[in-house]
């Protein structure tokens, strides 16, 4: 027998613990898939299994969090356990769990194949987690695609509905289009530096083989990631896709993939293209991406908010609002980019993570309510459908109002702390453009009051013409709502612990990641 197999396979630098959260989820997904193929359609079982898997994954994540020192990196530096990974992964797990809870009602209503749906959610979460943990462009790309492909399918899961089909198709075409740009960017960065490892790229941007390719590659990456997180020139897909996709999926898409996109985006740009002393190209690169992102942030907040004003469909309004929120997160992103010290940078990154956390919670809560109110086949998602339901279903409408206020960024809610944290670092640099960016973002927040309040206005201040029966709140959705409401208040009032946890990762010395090759 040939000895090739084993002799050369020694030491692939496998550190299983580093990918334990991801692995647990993947295994859970596979298990559910197998289970579902024998006992199809048991939503309660598969949902419970998924939640157990997510909980186990969360435990594994917690273990990583408290003891990341011994294996901060693994798999030849492809996985890096740092602030981006840990904080964002926590967001993803939360998003996935809430999505599963929220979608129970939808799965029942639409007769969706429950097991397969849960598998997709779990795999999408695995993809997101890899996007956050990947310190290599291969992993980031793979995570992104895992996530995207799962989401394409999820968007089209209401198969008999044309809006859902359309949503899935548009998302698929435009998403793959964006992936192609992203990939081209990755290729050029690889060509410029000779490596796909972010740490190594960061080390060699100052002395790249082909410095000019760095700029082109950076620009293409900007387009690709911009697409994924829906920043303005590349946001065109968002409204249609969000409107057409089944409501719980829309909530998931707005919360999870966006956060995952930001995780990779942050890692590639903030950590991968730092400001390096020496190396004109590297400096120019850093300067240009910061400037470009600042301009994009200005555009994104402005367009997102102003376009949201004129919408008549709640989901569409929230789609534009999600664009605007991507803009706010970008403000923090730029702040991380210009941070003077590593500690400040990590703090800014944690701020973006925290912002995505608050946004995810709020947004998922809102979509939970909208799912309940939309009824079967997402029929009732126009503003008119919300007329005067305020006191007919006080629990739902008051929670929805709370979420709207949190999205608006009103104090005492999670959204406020999130906004404060992301606006903070960008002001520190004291550059005019960045200050203008923050001011624009802030003015836009005031503009956003108009459409967020509009929902509250129609719910409470208008009268209802026709009869309307308040939907019953199923237990699972009730739990999700409770979690989100408590979350909104908890992060609004006692966010200290969370922020400290998010930033504490950085305080520990990071183990060198470059032990590959």
């Amino acid at each position: 027998m040939n000895t090739f197999l084993l002799a050369d396979l020694a030491n692939p630098n496998v550190v299983i613990q580093t990918v334990l959260p991801e692995m647990i989820l993947a295994v859970t997904g596979i298990f559910i898939m197998v289970y579902d193929s024998y006992v199809p359609g048991k939503q309660k079982v598969t949902a419970t299994l998924s939640l157990i898997g997510l909980a186990a994954s969360a435990v594994a994540l917690y273990m990583l969090w408290v003891e990341p020192l011994t294996f901060a990196s693994g798999f030849n530096g492809m996985i890096l356990t740092d602030v981006i990974r840990l904080s964002f992964t926590a967001v993803f797990i939360l998003v996935a769990a809430l999505t599963i809870l929220i979608s129970t009602v939808w799965v029942d209503n639409e007769k969706v194949p429950a097991g397969e749906y849960h598998v997709l959610v779990l795999f999408a979460t695995v993809g997101m987690m890899f996007m956050a943990s990947g310190n290599d462009m291969v992993i980031i790309f793979l995570g992104l695609e895992t996530l995207s492909i799962a989401t394409y399918v999820m968007a089209g899961m209401r198969k008999t509905d044309l809006r859902s089909n359309e949503s899935a198709m548009k998302y698929f075409i435009l998403g793959s289009y964006a992936s192609a740009f992203l990939l081209y960017g990755m290729a050029l960065i690889y060509g410029a530096t000779g490596s796909t490892n972010i740490t190594e790229i960061a080390a060699s941007v100052g002395s790249a083989t082909f410095p000019a390719l760095l700029l082109v590659g950076g620009a293409l990456l900007l387009i690709g990631f911009g697409f994924k997180v829906a920043t303005v020139p590349f946001h065109v897909w968002t409204p249609d896709v969000y409107e057409g996709a089944p409501t719980p999926i829309t909530g998931f898409m707005a919360a999870g993939p966006k956060a995952a996109g930001f995780a990779s985006f942050l890692r590639v740009f903030v950590l991968g293209f730092p400001l390096v002393a020496g190396g004109v190209a590297a400096q120019y690169l850093h300067e240009s991406w910061v400037t470009a992102l600042a301009v994009i942030a200005i555009l994104t907040t402005t367009v997102g908010n102003f376009a949201a004003i004129v919408q008549n469909n709640v989901k569409r309004m929230l789609a534009y609002s999600s664009i605007a929120h991507a803009g706010y997160a970008l403000v923090g992103f730029v702040g991380a980019g210009v941070a003077a010290t590593a500690a400040a940078r990590d703090e800014a990154i944690a701020a973006v993570a925290f912002y995505m956390l608050t946004y995810a919670i709020t947004n998922l809560g809102a979509f939970a309510v909208i799912t309940l109110l939309a009824r079967k086949n997402d029929r009732r998602t126009d503003f008119e459908d919300y007329n005067g339901i305020g006191f007919k279903s006080p629990v739902l409408s008051f929670t929805l109002s709370l979420f709207m206020l949190s999205l608006l960024g009103l104090p005492l809610t999670a959204g406020f702390i999130g906004k404060v944290l992301v606006f903070r670092p960008a002001l520190e640099a004291g550059q005019t453009l960045l200050t203008v960016m923050v001011v624009v973002a802030v003015v836009n927040t005031a503009v956003s009051a108009y459409y967020y309040l509009r929902l509250i206005v129609v719910m409470f201040f208008k009268e209802r013409n026709t009869d309307w029966i308040a939907p019953k709140i199923p237990a699972a959705v009730g739990v999700a709502l409770l979690v989100t409401v408590l979350g909104v208040f908890y992060f609004g009032l006692f966010s200290n612990n969370v922020i400290r946890a998010f930033t504490s990762v950085a305080e520990k010395p990071a183990v060198s990641a470059s032990n590959s090759k």
Partner: protein, 536 residues
């Protein structure tokens, strides 16, 4: 007792919020709506009584805060829950707790639909307003400042008049826009402090200390921009001309209780903010920009009065009179004299009482006739003598008749402005004279309105059967009337408490304090005046 003293302000803030939770709990388990107003009243009165405990304990000192409590909130950004009162905020706190029970009683029969939510929002509003006046951490201040919008938004939007949605949204967006810029300024301050001293801070006292000791220099463009960001937020809230357009709408559409609170307390948050933060944190910018605010204030006074004159709607008229009165307050503050600033504070208090009373009175008649148009009324004095009496007295107080509360404040403001040195040449006196015309205008529009509504023959048949004020309504008005008279004849009771604090602020804003040290001993009375150059 020590514990109680330490946490008195926290209790003040949290008690109404707790009341709101209790109301929700009550509603969940008993579902008896009749209890709600009693519960709410009990909570507000209790709060008022607690707030009176502050009175005795605030000693006269210039830079001192009392009942301080400082616990870390978010360590990552070094923001603390830091509360405390001085002589300045003391009165505003008490004004708030005083107005609240009155507002609650005023809604005794007016609120029929969705009563539980109404009282919940009322109580939450009280929490937020109290928070604004006692917070010494800028971020937390902002937080309460914004948080006060939501209950008011709902109060106007759900229980308001015909155009309530427009009014509510306008109110919200105007105020939110301004305050968000203030948020940027607050965060910038944090970083300026971080750059200057190595630690960022949102704490008012820390910032003030750094500025006074020269560690943090907020001069030049940065200072001006920050000043403007703060001032814009507060000017919208005040509201200063030309940011006043939300006020008439909000007042007209709000329910009576909402109007009373809006006029009585919410507007004061703006002037409070200018005096507390703008003057002390950016004294140089304040001095440089004072002329703008003085001009705007004078325009506000005259414009408010002139527009009030032509209003067909009583409530709108009162709303515009608020614009004029708040113009006076701003004018007084920007005179940078002790008299002017004390007068501004006093006008804030008396405006709260008087305008609150006016809105209550308008509310009474509205409950009876469901209209507020002046043309619908006429000769009411014959059918409602008590009401007419009350109304006339309140109107007089609002005009600023001597021996009523309005007079004291406005007189002090004009005195302060006259002796101010903030404008070059004789412009101070010119400004005072312009402001003085405002008083005359106020007399014109109020008296004309009173004449049209109360005197002459009853022109409208519907008014013949109107009943006079009920006992509840009289009981509601009595404390207010008493206060009008009391504040008119014995102002020093109030001014004494606040003198030291106001003087402290005044000294900072005119650049009196020596850099590097704080003033520990109270300066002698009159020292400030002596140091001012002779204007004549």
């Amino acid at each position: 007792m020590e514990y109680l003293n330490e946490n008195l302000l926290t209790i003040l803030i949290l008690l109404p919020a707790f009341g709101a939770v209790a109301l929700i709990g009550h509603q969940l388990f008993w579902k008896e709506e009749a209890h709600l107003k009693w519960l709410t009243l009990a909570f507000t009165i209790l709060n008022f009584l607690i707030s009176l405990a502050l009175l005795g304990n605030v000693a006269a000192s210039e830079n001192g805060f009392f009942f301080e409590k400082n616990i870390p909130w978010i360590e990552a950004i070094n923001t603390n829950y830091h509360v405390g009162v001085d002589g300045f905020s003391l009165w505003l706190v008490i004004l708030t707790t005083f107005i609240m029970p009155i507002a609650v009683i005023s809604t005794w029969h007016a609120v029929e639909k969705r009563a539980p939510a109404f009282y919940v929002f009322l109580l939450l509003l009280e929490s937020a307003m109290l928070g604004v006046f006692v917070t010494l951490d800028l971020l937390v201040f902002y937080l309460f400042f914004e948080a006060s919008l939501v209950p008011m938004f709902f109060l106007i939007g759900i229980w308001g008049g015909k155009d309530r949605i427009y009014a509510a949204v306008k109110f919200f967006i105007f105020t939110a826009l301004g305050s968000l810029l203030m948020l940027v300024a607050i965060i910038s301050l944090y970083y300026l402090h971080l750059q200057a001293t190595g630690t960022g801070s949102f704490d008012y006292i820390t910032l003030l200390g750094s500025i006074q000791s020269g560690k943090l220099v907020l001069a030049g463009q940065a200072g001006t921009l920050l000043f403007l960001a703060f001032a814009l937020a507060f000017s919208i809230k005040v509201p200063l001309f030309p940011f006043h357009t939300w006020l008439p709408d909000a007042h007209t559409e709000a329910p009576t209780a909402g109007s009373v609170i809006l006029a009585g307390v919410l507007l004061k948050m703006g002037t409070y903010g200018i005096m507390r933060f703008n003057f002390t944190l950016f004294p140089e910018a304040s001095r440089e920009m004072a002329w703008i605010f003085i001009i705007l204030a004078i325009i506000g006074i005259i414009y408010g009065a002139l527009v009030a004159m032509v209003q067909p709607d009583i409530k709108r008229l009162v709303a515009y009179s608020s614009v004029a009165h708040m113009g006076f307050v701003v004018l007084g503050m920007f005179s940078f004299t002790e008299a002017g600033m004390q007068g501004a504070l006093y006008t804030m208090l008396s405006h709260g009482v008087t305008t609150g009373a006016l809105f209550l009175l308008v509310g009474f008649i509205y409950e009876r006739r469901h209209t507020r148009l002046i043309s619908e009324y006429g000769g009411l004095s014959s059918v409602m003598p008590i009401y007419a009496t009350f109304f006339v007295i309140t109107a007089m107080a609002s005009i600023g008749l001597p021996f009523l509360n309005g007079f004291v404040g406005e007189f002090m403001i004009m005195l302060g402005m006259w002796s101010s040195t903030i404008l070059s040449g004789n412009w101070n006196q010119v400004a005072t004279m312009f402001a003085g015309t405002g008083v005359i205008f106020a007399a014109v529009y109020l008296l004309w309105m009173v004449q049209r509504v109360f005197f002459g023959k009853i022109t409208n048949e519907k008014n013949k059967g109107l009943s006079d004020l009920s006992l509840r309504e009289i009981g509601l008005m009595a404390p207010l009337l008493f206060l009008m008279v009391f504040m008119g004849v014995y102002p020093s009771l109030f001014l004494r408490e606040s003198a030291a604090s106001v003087r402290g602020i005044q000294k900072i804003v005119i650049g009196e304090t020596t850099k590097g040290g704080t003033v520990d001993s109270p300066p002698e009375i009159g020292q400030v005046e002596k140091n001012l150059p002779d204007t004549n």
